[in-house]
């Protein structure tokens, strides 16, 4: 079974802190994604990566950056956390962008910024 894991289920940070959210997948997937999930808005794509060291902005990249140094790991970075970044963050991975590959999701990290 594909497994996507995220470093924390719950995280509380203070405004201005630098925050790292880690995601690891164990199925050699090429694509990895970071979404944030907010009530009434569904999931919105922050960044995605289709290969090591490659990244592309999604729909809401402002205030975020990402890093993919190894194929299995995709990190989301909040350079200076703000209260409007309080949200549920979901990581996902998929095999290939060349076809309609199913995305496999991690359990999510619920981030609260005080």
């Amino acid at each position: 079974d594909v497994k996507v894991t995220q470093s924390s289920r719950y995280l509380v940070k203070r405004t201005g802190e630098k925050v790292f959210l880690e995601c690891v997948q164990d199925m050699d997937h090429e694509n990895m994604f970071w979404y944030r999930q907010d009530p009434g808005l569904g999931l919105r794509l922050i960044y995605f990566s289709y290969d090591v060291k490659m990244k592309e902005k999604g729909d809401i990249p402002e205030g975020y950056s990402v890093s993919r140094e190894k194929k299995e790991r995709f990190s989301l970075i909040l350079e200076s956390a703000s209260t409007n970044q309080t949200s549920m963050y979901l990581c996902a991975s998929s095999l290939s962008s060349g076809r309609a590959s199913e995305q496999f999701f991690g359990p999510g990290t619920r981030l609260t910024v005080l």
């Binding site: 569904g42 794509l45 309609a100 999510g108």
Partner: protein
């Protein structure tokens, strides 16, 4: 830009009955895929069913089926013989074949199955 709309924020159904969740989307593309994902309370999101736009036949997975109306840009999910374990948030999602596997999600419908 593509958009996905789920107009039912919450729905409920009695156990063993049938329920239909609505989804509409907007795109000018011809080659795309549509998905329904399920997010149970405090559990990971999983794929329920997938439909290729070029296929006229509606996809079916056990108790789950879709009604895909391409001209109307409608993609509803029917759950037959509802079970308590179907209680979850359901998301409709769109993928353009030429956009690197990116998904565009609707707002979600929270479904409660009542005993």
């Amino acid at each position: 830009a593509q958009t996905v709309t789920q107009s039912q924020p919450e729905m409920s159904v009695q156990e063993a009955e049938t329920v239909t969740l609505s989804c509409t989307y907007d795109t000018s593309e011809n080659n795309y895929y549509l998905f329904w994902y399920k997010q149970p309370p405090s559990r990971q999101m999983i794929l329920v069913i997938r439909q290729e736009a070029y296929k006229q036949q509606n996809a079916t997975e056990n108790r789950f089926s879709v009604n895909f109306q391409k001209a109307a840009k409608s993609f509803s999910l029917k759950i037959s013989d509802s079970q308590l374990g179907d209680t979850a948030m359901y998301f409709c999602a769109f993928m353009n074949q030429n956009q690197g596997g990116k998904l565009i999600f609707g707002q979600g419908t929270e479904l409660s199955v009542k005993p």
